[in-house]
């Protein structure tokens, strides 16, 4: 999928070609082609079971998913050959649909360890606890949190909405080039959705790109996508601009499935 009117190759951040992937021997992705250039926002939509989350997890490097064919290039490099931590250090960030609780480890310690791992890979100096807290102050403000969340164990006892905000806090701290948000909007009430969406929008930089994986249109009212892709049966069956998302909102996904079956 090419972004029209954008410069070619040199601005490509992510290039996915004919990607096939399976989990537990079951094929979920059946030939995905997708290109994301810097500065763009893409929305990947589709019904449950269409392969949206699998696509996100394959980009993240989840060990349970096996890539059986195709290629994924990130900044021209073979992303699939990288370990999950290498992808993170290169600037790939996946906001989890189901963030994991880490017992006994405070959010502050976790965030600082993650940031320092990324900074080290970038050749930057690691931050001590005090410098880190200073750097964090603005990020906390952006998501509307006080520092009480920093002394709690990572996601442990967090509500669904708090977990999603915590993912966005990590996004803000790690400043990735490519952010994949896997159903970050699901399970949020309207206010939380607004905060999360506006934060993501605010964090956008000209040299970065965002992929929103979502079931619903509503987050796209806060972040306008440049491109919308519809996934069904492990393939992208339709691509377009934000008008496509509106059409999906009105008509649902069934007509696309039928269209795909006929085609």
């Amino acid at each position: 999928m090419r972004g029209s009117g954008k410069p070619e190759r040199e601005s490509a951040l992510l290039e996915i070609e004919n990607l096939h992937a399976s989990v537990e021997g079951r094929e979920i992705l059946r030939g995905i082609d997708l290109r994301v250039n810097v500065g763009e926002v893409h929305a990947v939509m589709g019904p449950n079971g269409s392969g949206k989350s699998t696509l996100a997890q394959v980009i993240g490097g989840h060990p349970a998913y096996a890539v059986t064919a195709g290629s994924v290039l990130y900044q021209g490099k073979d992303l699939l050959a990288m370990k999950p931590e290498e992808r993170a250090r290169e600037g790939v960030f996946l906001a989890f649909q189901y963030p994991v609780a880490i017992r006994g480890i405070t959010n502050a310690y976790f965030l600082r360890s993650a940031l320092n791992a990324v900074r080290k890979a970038r050749g930057q100096e690691e931050l001590g606890p005090v410098e880190f807290m200073d750097a964090l102050e603005d990020k906390l403000k952006v998501i509307g949190w006080d520092d009480s969340y920093l002394n709690r164990p990572v996601n442990d006892g967090f509500s669904g909405g708090e977990k999603k905000r915590n993912e966005i806090l990590q996004l803000a701290v790690l400043e990735p080039k490519l952010a994949i948000l896997d159903e970050t909007d699901s399970g949020l009430d309207i206010d939380a959705l607004k905060t999360v969406a506006h934060t993501v929008d605010k964090l956008r930089r000209p040299e970065s790109a965002t992929v929103l994986v979502t079931h619903y249109y509503r987050i796209l009212t806060h972040i306008t996508p440049d491109f919308v892709h519809v996934l069904s049966g492990g393939r992208i069956v339709k691509s377009g601009t934000k008008e496509l998302a509106l059409e999906l909102e009105e008509k649902g996904y069934d007509w696309l499935r039928e269209e795909a079956a006929v085609g």
Partner: protein, 452 residues
């Protein structure tokens, strides 16, 4: 069975010598108590794995060893500088040190105590506070059902005595250290340390028991601790077991909680080849609260068995029990958590969790909850897990840039840190954190031998 019978005879013979020797000068009530206890031990003998309570833990290594009593053995090698690395509670602590079961005032750090507070040798208290001692000794730790409590009671001669009178809030922690010296001994020693902690109405204290072995070696500690909390009392109690990796420890901790008391127990087992801890608390008055927050961190062929009983005898009490086990190499952790809710103990709120992290394919954990509920208006939950590090959690951490090894280390440490996080005394928590980080770093180094 013959070995067990021989072992029983051996301890009876030791008792005869003990009763006819240094213990003869004791008050009549104590002599009677010892006599009843040794008689009960003679009846019970050492338990076998055929008994349900001992199914996973064989005490054969203890029964098959010929021990000599440690009481009164000189230990010139156990000096202040040899013990200093083991201090946990920081420089401000009131410290009571016992070597080979006997109070060592030269190694202890006495302090000016608030009026009426006692923190010292139990042997001295048997004379100076005879009425108090008599009122509480062997009233909480029942020796009728436990041969080990019976044996400890039979050999009762010294230990720690802590008494906090009504209304006193003792800020400084009391650190009780039991050390066994094996240096120059030809025989394996057995120590029977006793601790009695009494916190009166509305009083408050922090007590830490520590079991250490600056000289290592094979020996047996058979400890009993009794805790009595009067109405409205609060006690934060730590128990750090760092016996020699070749040693045996059997321990009994029994607490009785009156109305509106708060007891926070933190048993931490790091040492011994074979360790068994029976922990029982009775919520004997309404409005009582218990936090039982334990950790066992084992490696090599270490075996640690925790049997806990929380007895909700009265209504409106809460007990929250958390035990985490980290098991490396061929270590074996056993947890048995029994919760009894007596008839009429309505509005009981009881929660129990036991999580075991297996750090090697050969490590093993057995976890058994036992709920006995005889009241209908109660909230009781329990859960236990046994398994390796969670793959999804590892992936989550790696997806944030942490190397696989760093992520595994963080999750492992977090498993222990979760328990440390519930400890209120900052100096104790920090020192334990340091000890546990050191232990885990050790493990990682050892673990690399077999890796890739």
């Amino acid at each position: 069975m013959t070995a067990a019978v021989d072992a029983r005879e051996h301890h009876l013979a030791l008792f005869k010598a003990f009763a006819g020797n240094g213990a003869a000068g004791s008050p009549a009530w104590l002599r009677d108590l010892r006599g009843q206890a040794i008689a009960r031990f003679a009846e019970l003998g050492f338990p076998s794995t055929k008994q349900e309570e001992w199914r996973f833990t064989s005490v054969a290594p203890i029964a098959e060893t010929t021990f000599a009593l440690s009481h009164g053995r000189d230990a010139p090698g156990v000096t202040a500088s040899a013990l200093a690395p083991y201090w946990i509670a920081g420089p401000g602590a009131i410290r009571l040190v016992f070597v080979n079961g006997t109070f060592a005032p030269a190694l202890s750090a006495a302090a000016e105590l608030p009026r009426g507070v006692r923190a010292g040798s139990l042997r001295a208290a048997l004379a100076s506070d005879a009425e108090l001692a008599q009122r509480h000794l062997a009233r909480h730790a029942d020796y009728q059902t436990s041969p080990f409590a019976a044996l400890n009671t039979a050999f009762l001669s010294d230990g720690a005595f802590v008494y906090v009178p009504a209304g006193v809030e003792l800020e400084r922690p009391i650190e009780v250290v039991f050390a066994v010296a094996t240096d120059g001994e030809r025989e394996a020693l057995v120590a029977h340390p006793r601790t009695l902690v009494i916190v009166e109405r509305g009083a408050r204290a922090t007590v830490l028991e520590s079991y250490v072995a600056p000289q290592g070696g094979v020996y047996w500690t058979n400890a009993v601790t009794e805790i009595a909390l009067a109405q409205g009392a609060r006690l934060e109690h730590y128990r750090i077991q760092r016996e020699s990796r070749e040693a045996y420890q059997v321990a009994t901790t029994h607490a009785t909680q009156d109305r509106d008391t708060v007891l926070r127990l933190h048993p931490v087992a790091l040492g011994a080849a074979l360790a068994r801890h029976d922990l029982r608390t009775e919520l004997a008055g309404t409005g009582g609260e218990l936090i039982l927050n334990g950790l066992y961190l084992l490696r090599g062929r270490q075996h640690a068995d925790h049997h806990t009983v929380i007895d909700h005898a009265q209504p409106h009490c809460a007990s929250h029990e958390y035990f985490n086990g980290l098991l490396g190499e061929q270590a074996h952790g056993v947890f048995n958590g029994r919760i009894i809710v007596r008839p009429g103990a309505q509005r009981t709120d009881s929660k129990q969790t036991n999580n075991n992290l297996l750090l090697s394919a050969d490590a093993r954990a057995d976890s058994q909850p036992q709920l006995e509920i005889y009241a209908d208006d109660v909230k009781c939950t329990h859960g236990s897990t046994v398994g390796p590090l969670d793959e999804t959690a590892l992936y989550y951490l790696r997806s944030r840039g942490l190397a696989a090894e760093t992520a595994a280390g963080m999750l492992t440490y977090g498993f222990a840190a979760e328990i440390l996080g519930r400890m209120e005394h900052a100096a104790v928590r920090d020192e334990l954190d340091r000890v546990i980080r050191g232990r885990l770093a050790d493990r990682t180094r050892g673990g690399r031998r077999g890796a890739t």
